[in-house]
């Protein structure tokens, strides 16, 4: 599309597990285990995956709240993987974060004014119009009453609190915002408001988003491209509409089939096409060899256990990490939707259940 603002290659974060008196490392949780991502200027990349797949850790690595174990992160042409303290403070101006829980991301002892002005004070940004005025402009920008300057977070609803968090992230006029599940703690009716606010702000302020979420419909609404993560790996990256219409990775197929269909007349058909996965996500302490998804995949063969599939670009532009990507024929086989693939999946699952090895 355009120039990449953020490039991530082979990014890893292993959390050590220590034991004994000497705190010897006995194992590591491979929360993020070699992911490749590119976020272009002005676009929104959605990052989806189920709980514990490492998407939040990835966000914290990119904003450099956490120190990566391996790989590289390049922001705006600058390698920020192991950036030093001084330059890191400057980087904070360009990369900001919106947090998941608006009840824990605002200090209960500070007023809204203190919270929103904190970035300006920490970064020593001059405010010619005065700090209070600057904060009130930010509050207005996110749709809050600027008169609420002296109020405390406990006096606001969840949606309003999240707006305060957004105002704080915008205070430094960042180029990129990493939003870590910004709406998953909110009521459904409020989610739309906040998502639309983020959308409007992107247009007004020329922002680039990395939007981390597990809610596929929210991601579909806001993203230009979507990356799917499973157990510390990116399994598929594709433009939004392509990904939702033609998922290539078996995990994405299963994920998409789990999206509820709001239209009752289509619900019956949708349920027949549902791909149900069995078993649990394996432990990130000891992930499966080869492809991480093979233990739950209905297309898995011997090669999947021995060789890790790299993230490669298919003919239709999808980036998929799979030895046997799901084709359109499989999805739309026999002219009656994706039921063939689903049926095949069910057969496979049935045999897996009958014979676990």
């Amino acid at each position: 599309m355009s120039t990449p603002l953020l490039e991530v290659t082979g990014l890893q974060k292993h959390f050590p597990i220590t034991a004994g008196l000497l705190r010897r490392q006995v194992a590591a949780v491979r929360a993020v285990d070699g992911i490749d991502l590119t976020v272009n200027k002005g676009e929104t990349l959605g990052l989806v995956g189920e709980s514990g797949c490492g998407k939040s850790t990835a966000g914290r690595l990119i904003t450099r709240i956490l120190e990566p174990t391996g790989g590289t992160v390049t922001f705006d042409g600058q390698d920020i993987t192991h950036i030093k303290r001084g330059p890191l403070r400057d980087l904070r101006r360009d990369v900001q974060m919106i947090f998941q829980d608006p009840y824990s991301s605002l200090n209960p002892r500070h007023t809204v004014g203190t919270i929103v002005s904190a970035p300006l004070q920490i970064q020593k940004i001059p405010t010619p119009q005065g700090l209070k005025k600057a904060v009130q402009e930010l509050l207005e920008l996110v749709g809050l009453n600027p008169e609420h300057y002296n109020r405390y977070p406990h006096e606001f609803s969840g949606g309003q609190r999240q707006r305060i968090g957004i105002a704080r992230a915008l205070a430094l006029k960042p180029k990129m915002i990493v939003a870590d599940e910004p709406v998953s703690a909110l009521d459904v009716s409020i989610q739309a408001q906040v998502v639309n606010l983020l959308d409007d702000l992107q247009r007004e302020l020329d922002l680039t988003y990395l939007f981390i979420a597990h809610d596929l419909s929210v991601v579909r609404h806001i993203s230009d491209r979507v990356a799917v993560m499973y157990l510390g790996k990116v399994v598929e990256v594709a433009p939004r509409d392509d990904l939702y219409a033609h998922p290539r990775h078996p995990y994405t197929v299963a994920l998409m089939s789990a999206v509820p269909v709001p239209d009752p007349s289509r619900r019956d058909k949708a349920q027949r096409e549902r791909v149900l996965l069995t078993g649990d996500v394996p432990s990130p302490i000891d992930p499966p060899s080869g492809c991480r998804f093979r233990t739950r995949c209905w297309k898995a063969q011997d090669v999947c256990a021995s060789e890790q599939p790299p993230l490669t670009v298919l003919a239709d532009g999808h980036q998929v990490a799979c030895h046997f990507p799901v084709s359109d024929e499989e999805q739309h086989a026999a002219g009656s939707g994706r039921s063939a693939a689903a049926a095949q999946a069910r057969d496979k699952i049935a045999t897996v259940v009958a014979d676990p090895e």
């Binding site: 947090f99 824990s104 991301s105 809204v112 920490i122 005025k133 009453n145 405390y152």
Partner: protein
């Protein structure tokens, strides 16, 4: 409380031009929007708790008495070291008259043998108790807050070392240590007189052995607070550790620190009284509640008044501090129960 969006827009311009004192009542809006801080909410809650308010009032009264002990005693006109041999029965050594010689002149009676005024000595004893208890609590709070913050926030070996020191101190026989320490220290040092130097020793010893109680609370709170997202948010803004510790964490620790400080003060009063009773606290001619209890034990079978008065003082003071501290905890943290 919330005015309409249209109204707020028109207000905004006037508000900023003509409002040097922020939050002041604005004549155009009639009522400025001002948040109620958690402190104000806690104060309202505290005011509704009558028992705690009474405890707090008594604590305030005692503090005033302690501060103005010297003028109060000189106003009454019975110096603490004035002997009144004419009020003592020469054969028994007991005060003349019933109830320890309580009279219009000597409100709480006189001391057996010497005839010194008990009321004046109680006032000065209060000064000793309150000063020692408050300053020792201050020492404990400062040490406990700093070490607890460091242990909780830094973790790793700092946490391990501080936690082991706290375990060690909590298991240490404080009373025996105090007795041993006082017996080897000189009677006065640093140019302080006997009373002040002993008070300094008591403050140091009681304060030093008290900090692990605060330290544990602070460490535990920091462990839970540092996982909250606002700490992460502050870090993602580029905040230094000092700002995170003192601007983000400490305001959230103010409530538990305040509550536990008010709850260790009564313990300190009892410790001070115990040490003075054992003869290693305040030295003999100077008055202290614990010392008076010790003196009274030779006479209580014939006249218990002299024992009852300091005992009741200790009891009421400790009770008042505890009720005040409990009320404070309820007001600051209503979810604690």
């Amino acid at each position: 409380m919330v005015s309409g969006p249209g109204a707020s827009l028109s207000e905004e311009s006037t508000h900023d031009v003509a409002d040097p004192a922020e939050g002041g009542v604005n004549s155009t809006t009639g009522k400025a929007i001002e948040g109620r801080s958690l402190r104000q909410i806690a104060w309202r809650r505290f005011k509704r708790d009558r028992v705690a308010t009474a405890g707090g009032a008594f604590v305030g009264f005692l503090v005033l008495v302690a501060i103005f002990a010297t003028p109060i005693v000189s106003l009454i006109g019975h110096p603490i070291d004035a002997f009144n041999n004419d009020l003592i029965d020469p054969t028994l050594g007991l005060p003349l008259g019933s109830f320890g010689g309580i009279s219009g002149e000597h409100w709480l009676g006189v001391e057996p043998t010497s005839g010194r005024d008990v009321f004046s000595r109680i006032i000065f004893g209060a000064q000793t108790s309150i000063f020692v208890a408050f300053l020792a609590a201050l020492v404990s709070t400062i040490l406990g807050a700093i070490l607890g913050l460091a242990a909780g926030f830094m973790g790793g070996w700092v946490d391990a070392v501080v936690s082991r020191i706290m375990d060690f101190l909590l298991a240490f026989p404080q009373l025996l240590f105090s007795i041993a320490l006082v017996s080897v220290l000189p009677d006065s040092f640093f140019g302080l007189d006997g009373r002040l130097s002993r008070m300094a020793v008591l403050i140091g010893v009681i304060g030093f052995f008290g900090w692990p109680y605060i330290g544990r609370i602070v460490r535990g709170q920091v462990l839970s607070l540092r996982e909250r997202e606002f700490i992460e948010a502050s870090r993602s803004l580029g905040a230094r550790t000092g700002r995170i510790l003192f601007r983000e964490l400490l305001p959230n620790l103010a409530a538990p620190i305040l509550v536990y400080t008010t709850l260790i003060i009564p313990t300190n009063i009892i410790t001070e009284a115990s040490l003075s009773f054992l003869g290693v606290g305040i030295e003999a001619p100077n008055p202290s509640w614990g010392g008076m209890l010790y003196d009274a034990k030779s006479y209580y079978q014939s006249d218990p008044t002299y024992m009852i008065i300091p005992g009741v003082c200790i009891f009421i003071t400790v009770l008042a501090f505890n009720l005040f501290g409990d009320g404070l905890r309820d007001a600051l943290d209503p979810k604690a129960h």
